[in-house]
């Protein structure tokens, strides 16, 4: 009886119960994701302040951002630089270490665990404070440099160095990407390597022709997620340098926070958030566009 019904109908009665399980998400998505998403777009065209009703002012916020607000251009530059340093830095570091560890090493699990530790503290205030102390002018990093005969650096005082020192904090936390790469490397079939060595391929050739192509999907996934995160960076700059010196670490996330939550210019803040969103979209689209050329999928992954 029951079996017959299955064959006739496309969906079983039971299947409609799915919506019951999806209900929390359907509500959450609509109220806490879609609605805020659309209303921040709307706010970006208004002069909305927390206490007053928003008035529609067209493109004024955007015009002000791009033509009058020099601070914004600076923040844009700082954020792009930050992304450009941290994302490739972190992923290359993770990849290099993962490839290095991908062999028969005794105690690999322990090593993997220990290397992961810095990644536990992404966005942690405590670790940001620690970084601040480590790199302070008379701090331990400069002391170490001096003992090996190198000059001290003004890590936080130098406008060129401050951003890079914050980037180092992010790159230091490469462990989680490394763990993903390691798992992906383990999944590359041994037969491929054997076949390659029979064909007389050299180590470097094997690396670029077999190893790398097989882990491109995971590199791609990491690239996208890390980029989205990097564009929104806030905590490290806010806690360590407060955007200074001379706004050289004043990332877009801080600009957004100050406009929206210190001065309560919600409309203007929304415009900033949409510029940020547009940037993220552009970069993601470019990555997706380019992915067909370099990301290799073994299956299409349907379900």
């Amino acid at each position: 009886m029951v079996d017959k019904k299955v064959k006739i109908r496309k969906y079983q009665k039971r299947d409609y119960q799915a919506f019951l399980y999806l209900l929390p998400w359907l509500v959450g998505f609509t109220v806490l994701q879609l609605y805020p998403f659309l209303s921040s777009l709307y706010y970006s065209f208004t002069d909305y302040k927390i206490s007053a009703v928003p008035n529609f002012i067209g493109l004024k916020n955007y015009i002000k951002l791009f033509t009058q607000d020099t601070e914004f251009w600076n923040s844009l530059k700082v954020t792009l630089l930050f992304t450009l340093y941290t994302v490739p830095g972190k992923l290359l570091m993770a990849l290099a270490v993962a490839v290095f560890l991908n062999r028969n090493i005794k105690g690999i699990n322990l090593i993997r665990t220990l290397y992961y530790i810095p990644s536990l503290f992404g966005g942690s205030v405590a670790i940001a404070v620690l970084w601040k102390v480590l790199f302070v002018d008379n701090g331990v990093v400069n002391a170490i440099l001096n003992t090996v005969g190198l000059p001290s650096q003004q890590w936080w005082g130098n406008t060129k160095l401050a951003l890079r020192t914050i980037c180092m904090l992010e790159i230091w936390q490469f462990g989680s990407s490394m763990v993903m790469f390691l798992a992906a490397l383990k999944n590359v079939q041994k037969e491929l390597y054997e076949a390659a060595s029979i064909d007389g391929a050299g180590k470097i050739r094997v690396f670029f022709k077999i190893t790398i192509p097989h882990i491109t999907p995971i590199i791609f996934f990491n690239l996208i997620m890390q980029t989205i995160q990097a564009f929104q960076n806030f905590t490290s700059a806010f806690v360590i340098t407060k955007g200074g010196p001379l706004k050289s670490t004043y990332v877009l996330g801080m600009k957004l926070y100050n406009e929206a939550f210190s001065y309560f210019k919600m409309g203007y803040g929304s415009a900033i958030s949409w510029v940020m969103f547009a940037l993220i979209m552009i970069v993601t689209l470019l990555l997706f566009r380019s992915s067909s050329a370099w990301v290799y999928y073994e299956d299409s992954g349907d379900f």
């Binding site: 969906y11 079983q12 039971r14 299947d15 119960q17 799915a18 399980y21 929390p24 998400w25 998505f29 806490l32 994701q33 805020p36 921040s40 560890l101 090493i105 090593i111 220990l114 290397y115 992961y116 530790i117 810095p118 536990l120 503290f121 992404g122 966005g123 942690s124 205030v125 670790i127 404070v129 620690l130 102390v133 480590l134 302070v136 008379n138 701090g139 331990v140 002391a143 989680s176 993903m180 390691l182 798992a183 995971i218 564009f231 929104q232 806030f234 806690v239 996330g253 957004l256 926070y257 929206a260 939550f261 929304s270 958030s273 949409w274 940020m276 969103f277 993220i280 993601t284 992954g301």
Partner: protein, 281 residues
């Protein structure tokens, strides 16, 4: 000869591993010892070990601000984090069950929407969320953390649990249905026990992210009485004109300690969780 060279390579490898390890762990180790050091010892010196091991900075630091001690800040943190984690795991596993085990009209579209929200930046929704929560009177409470968790607004975990559930044989459900189980009972009694590792991973990551998160606490919490650790630390950093760094480090170390302990007790779930979730995406 052959064996000789191989052994040598081994030593070089371990040397490289050790150097990377020092680079990664030295800051944390230094932090621990700095909690016993005076400012003079911390600055301008490369000595790792302190002159004496004295818990004074922990005692001083723990006193906190005004009548708020770090005991209160810890209680606040756990009041914020623990329900958020539980709500996340419950709601996300229900939604994941809906996606993984049913064929329903519009499934492809809804799942694509879920995947798209993975890439939705928090920055772009935070302002309207703030005004929304403000109009509900939820600012300065933990509801801005609880409610998104109850409503499965963490697509990452839904996705992760869907992926995991896809690996469980569908015959389990079928035989449960034949035995007369409804869908809820099938989920709770048959699937949920098998999903323990994935649920545990999701819970751990949510704990970690909520515990470390500073931006949302900064925006939604505005009285010291409700401050979690992250805000309290920033307050300590800003409050004093001459920072006693040993004391600051002591409180920072206390703040990272729960994460470290959790990691060591449950490292399997962390590392496996990371390794498996990324793979299929």
């Amino acid at each position: 000869m052959e064996r000789e060279t191989k052994k040598k390579a081994g030593i070089v490898e371990y040397l490289v591993i050790a150097v990377i390890g020092i680079f990664l762990l030295y800051p944390i180790i230094w932090m621990f010892f700095a909690t016993f050091k005076t400012n003079e010892e911390i600055f301008g010196s490369i000595k790792l070990l302190p002159g004496s091991f004295n818990l004074q900075y922990y005692i001083d630091g723990w006193k906190g601000h005004g009548n708020m001690t770090y005991t209160d800040f810890f209680v606040n943190t756990f009041k914020l984090v623990v329900p958020t984690v539980l709500f996340t795991v419950i709601s996300c596993s229900l939604v994941a069950y809906g996606f993984a085990r049913f064929k329903f009209p519009g499934k492809k579209i809804l799942f694509s929407v879920l995947i798209a929200t993975l890439m939705l930046p928090n920055a772009v929704i935070i302002i309207p969320r703030y005004t929304l929560f403000n109009s509900f009177g939820w600012i300065n409470s933990y509801l801005p953390f609880y409610v998104p968790a109850m409503l499965a607004c963490y697509p990452f975990f839904v996705f992760m649990l869907v992926q995991f559930m896809r690996g469980l044989p569908k015959e389990l459900d079928q035989s449960a249905y034949i035995d007369g189980c409804g869908t809820l009972r099938t989920f709770v009694q048959i699937l949920l026990p098998l999903m323990k590792p994935a649920l545990f991973s999701a819970g751990l990551f949510q704990f970690l992210w909520t515990y470390n998160d500073y931006f949302n606490s900064l925006i939604f919490i505005n009285s010291v009485k409700k401050y979690p650790i992250s805000l309290a630390l920033k307050l300590s950093l800003d409050a004093e004109s001459v920072v006693v760094w040993g004391k600051m480090m002591a409180m920072a170390f206390v703040a990272v300690l729960p994460v470290l302990l959790l990691f060591f007790f449950a490292q399997k779930y962390f590392v496996e969780g990371i390794a498996t979730t990324g793979i299929k995406g």
